[in-house]
Structures are given as structure tokens and as C-alpha cells.
């Protein structure tokens, strides 16, 4: 165990996975991750091709090209950088290339804001990338190793992005246990591509398909996503056997068994919510947490199962689908449709780095309590701590 910055914990995990090619463009708050990896390559600690590209569009394009040759690839980005990757993200998934990327989750412009929320990854929801969210530095680090194992499985062959909250996790110093190289080598076999590009055996990737087969290609990706649900759960257990750490499968629960009210959320806010729940529990309140670790594929079944005995759920979204509501809230309600499940309330919070503390969580719980008692919500989606004075 060592105290280190979240970004370094991620860089060390990347190094242990021995990627052949890394291509990245620096952007706050992702910078420390790629700076550290670049240093490792420069100092000869990591033997890898580090490509200093001029934009994130190129970073992802380099990863696509390298991955097509059978190389294990890594990149990291956030916010505007991820938005700039947008079209290439769809290509990476469509070409079935198991690229792994860290997203140091940050808000999107305009107005410019460099702090944390989940709008960047949520906006790439339909790109065909597996989306995982991490709660702390240790999880963000360990998920790199798990991600390659998930992505490179021949039944899956999809890219994986791992969200870690910008600044909150990238810049925090926490006790982290690094995985030994020997154990990672044992856990993670070399990437064994089913088809790859060489000069002797040239191939065309993603060649045109007509309306009579495009649907089938989309269906194949969808099926691989569905298979990934099982794979993510299995890899989490294998990782536990090997390294002794477990964060849940598609979801994890905390004090959920007898809870009347469940908080559903993703990312680092889970840590804060756990502290708030501990205090509420000591006051006799039956509150628990469902931590949504995997957003795509969406763990609908696991969410229905884990919430079926609760009276209400409060869904926390660090994003907003403008003109409707938080994305997780929409998906959770859709999962619960026709299932006779609990009342569901949506809360949009923590946008652009607005602090979420125990009191924020407790206020949400109090609101939900009121709704449980009266059977009515004041508002379907609430902007938490919205300051109407400044409008």
C-alpha cells in the first residue's frame, strides 16, 4: 500500500498491462495520467510506442490503426477531447477494436468549465463502447487491468472506457495497492486478435455494407454488448481471486438489503453517499445504495432485482439530457417499466464540479422520504441546490 495520486495509480496499471501503443493529447484533468505514462516510456520503464498526436481525433485514430495491427492500445482524455474523438469512437467500436481508455470525467463547454461531471461519457453513450465508472483511485486503477481482459475476449471485442471523476479522483492522493507485474502477466494474457493487419497480409477494415446487412452489423455489436454483461461479472470475480479486491459486478450494493430508500449513482459520489448512509443508518433510517458500475451495457436486470423491495429510489445524475432529464434516471425508469418497482425520483447534481457533500445526500434522502410518505413528488427531476437568485 502506498499513498499516490489517482492519475499515477492509473498510469501504473496501464504500465502493468504492457500496451504496445499509447497515443494521447493532454487535457485537464487527464494530463497527469498521460504525463506519467510518457515519462515511463521516456525512462525506459515501459517499452511502448508513445505517439504524441496533435489532437484527440488523432489520438483515437492512432489507437484504431494500431489496434487493427493487433497491438494493445491505450489512451486517456476528457470533456472536449472526448467530444473531438466522437466519430472515431464509433469507428473503434464498429471495427471491434479492444482499445482501453480512461476518461477523467469533466463537463462540456460552453461556458468553459474544467471540473467534474459525467456529461462527456454520457454524451458518447451510443458509441458502442463499454462504459465503466469508478468510485475511487484504486478502482480506476484496477479497472484498467480488468478492462483489457473484457475488451479482448473473442466474444466481446469492444473498446472500453473507464470513467474516473476529474480532479476528485485524478488529483486525489489516496492509499493504493499496485498490482505486481508478475500477477498481471498471469491474469492478463497477451492480446490474441482474430484478424490483424500486416504488410504481408493487407486487409480492409470497415468496408462499405449496404442496407441489406448494416442492421446485422449493428446487431452483432449489440449482441457482443449483451455478452459483455456476463464477462464483466466474471472478470470481476477472477480479479478478486487473483488480487483480493472486488468492486461489484455490473452494480454493487451498500446497506441495500432492507432499505426503504435506495440511492442510485455512478462514480466517486458513491463514497460520499456511503458516509451519509452510515450516519442515516445510525439514526435508524433505512437507506441504502446501488452503485451503478457499468452504464453500457446497461444492467437493467440487476437494477430491477436490487431495487424490487425498496419503496423509492433516488437516481443521481451528474449529467443532463437537456430538454428531458438525467440519463441514468431515464434508463432506470425504462428498466423498471412494467415491473411494479419502487417510485423513482431523479436528481441532477454536481454539474461542472459543484460540490456534493453528505448534506447534499441527506437533503435528497429527506425529499425522497417525504415523497414516500405522501406518494407524490414535488418535481420529477430536480436540479439540486439550484440558485434561482442568480437567474
Amino acid at each position: 500500500m502506498e499513498i499516490m495520486e489517482g492519475s499515477r495509480a492509473v498510469a501504473e496499471a496501464v504500465k502493468a498491462c504492457r500496451p504496445n501503443v499509447i497515443a494521447a493529447y493532454p487535457i485537464t484533468p487527464q494530463t497527469h495520467i498521460v504525463e506519467e505514462i510518457s515519462r515511463m516510456v521516456a525512462d525506459g520503464e515501459l517499452v511502448s510506442e508513445y505517439v504524441r498526436v496533435e489532437s484527440e481525433h488523432s489520438a483515437m485514430s492512432v489507437c484504431v490503426g494500431a489496434s487493427a495491427t493487433g497491438a494493445r492500445t491505450y489512451t486517456a482524455t476528457t470533456s472536449q477531447g472526448m467530444a473531438l474523438m466522437h466519430e472515431v469512437l464509433f469507428n473503434a467500436a464498429g471495427l471491434r477494436l479492444p482499445i482501453v481508455m480512461t476518461a477523467a470525467n469533466r463537463s462540456l463547454s460552453a461556458p468553459i468549465n474544467i471540473w467534474n461531471d459525467h456529461q462527456d461519457m454520457i454524451s458518447e453513450r451510443d458509441s458502442g463502447w463499454i462504459q465503466l465508472y469508478s468510485e475511487d483511485a484504486q478502482e480506476a486503477s484496477d479497472m484498467i487491468i480488468q478492462a483489457y481482459k473484457i475488451a479482448e475476449d473473442h466474444d466481446i471485442l469492444l473498446p472500453v472506457m473507464i470513467g474516473m471523476d476529474g480532479f476528485i479522483l485524478t488529483h486525489v492522493h489516496e492509499p493504493v495497492e499496485l498490482c505486481s507485474q508478475e500477477k498481471v502477466d498471469d491474469f492478463l494474457p497477451l492480446y490474441d486478435p482474430i484478424q490483424y493487419l500486416t504488410t504481408e497480409n493487407p486487409l480492409s477494415f470497415g468496408t462499405i455494407v449496404y442496407p441489406n446487412t448494416y442492421t446485422e452489423f449493428r446487431y452483432m455489436i449489440h449482441e457482443a454488448m449483451k455478452k459483455a454483461e456476463r464477462k464483466i461479472v466474471d472478470v470481476a470475480s477472477e480479479f478478486q481471486d487473483k488480487f483480493g479486491r472486488y468492486y461489484g459486478g455490473l452494480i454493487d450494493t451498500y446497506e441495500a438489503d432492507d432499505a426503504d430508500l435506495l440511492i442510485l449513482a455512478m462514480g466517486s459520489v458513491i463514497g460520499t453517499a456511503k458516509d451519509a448512509v452510515d450516519e442515516l443508518r445510525s439514526e435508524g433510517k433505512k437507506v441504502g445504495i446501488v452503485k451503478v458500475r457499468c452504464y453500457r451495457p446497461f444492467p437493467a436486470e440487476a437494477i430491477v432485482e436490487s431495487t424490487k423491495d425498496a419503496k423509492a429510489i433516488a437516481v443521481l445524475d451528474k449529467n443532463i439530457s437537456l430538454g428531458y432529464e438525467g440519463a441514468l434516471y431515464t434508463d432506470v425508469k425504462s428498466a423498471l417499466y412494467g415491473k411494479n418497482g419502487p417510485l423513482a425520483m431523479g436528481f441532477v447534481l454536481g454539474l461542472g464540479g459543484r460540490d456534493i457533500n453528505k448534506k447534499t445526500i441527506k437533503n435528497i434522502v429527506a425529499k425522497a422520504d417525504k415523497a414516500i410518505k405522501s406518494g407524490i413528488f414535488e418535481a420529477e427531476t430536480e436540479f439540486v441546490d439550484l440558485d434561482l437568485e442568480v437567474l
Binding site: 477494415f205 470497415g206 452483432m220
Partner: protein, 87 residues
């Protein structure tokens, strides 16, 4: 035929994908009027306007010409006419 993961094929798939069939207007070069300046071949986005090495004249590869009309627009002597495709 089974679909390949990621639509990966041997190179040369465009040999069977003759995208020229998508065209609405067809460029016709008036060989008499053409002065052989090569503007059409330099500006064609598909590489479909070319100099035929045998005849030494400029020609169009209709298998891939998409009928955008850039060649006709840019030809300095207006030797290319865009004609509606009739099926």
C-alpha cells in the same frame, strides 16, 4: 456468406462495389473540344476522370464516377456536359 466481425475483408472490395450506380448525372467529355489540360482529373474527388494512356485522351471511369459535376464546372473550355442518367 457470413458477415465478418468489423466488416473486415481482403483489400479491393471496391472492385465489386461499383458506386457509379449511385449517380444521377453523367459527365460526357466532348473529345473534340477537350484541350487536354488535365483539370478534370486533378479535381475529381473520386479519381474517376483520367488520361487514357492508350488513346492519350481524357476519359471518365463510370464504374466509380459519382456524378458530382466538379469536372464539368471546372473544365476551362466547357468540354464536359452533365447528362441525366436514364435507367
Amino acid at each position: 456468406m457470413k458477415l465478418s466481425i468489423g466488416s473486415v475483408t481482403k483489400p479491393g472490395s471496391t472492385r465489386i462495389n461499383k458506386t457509379g450506380s449511385w449517380r444521377t448525372f453523367k459527365p460526357i467529355i466532348d473529345i473534340e473540344a477537350c484541350i487536354g489540360c488535365g483539370t478534370c482529373s486533378m479535381l475529381c474527388p473520386e479519381g474517376s476522370a483520367y488520361k487514357d494512356n492508350v488513346s492519350g485522351k481524357y476519359a471518365i471511369d463510370y464504374d466509380y464516377c459519382k456524378g458530382c459535376g466538379i469536372c464539368a464546372q471546372e473544365c476551362p473550355v466547357k468540354a464536359i456536359e452533365m447528362v441525366m442518367e436514364e435507367k
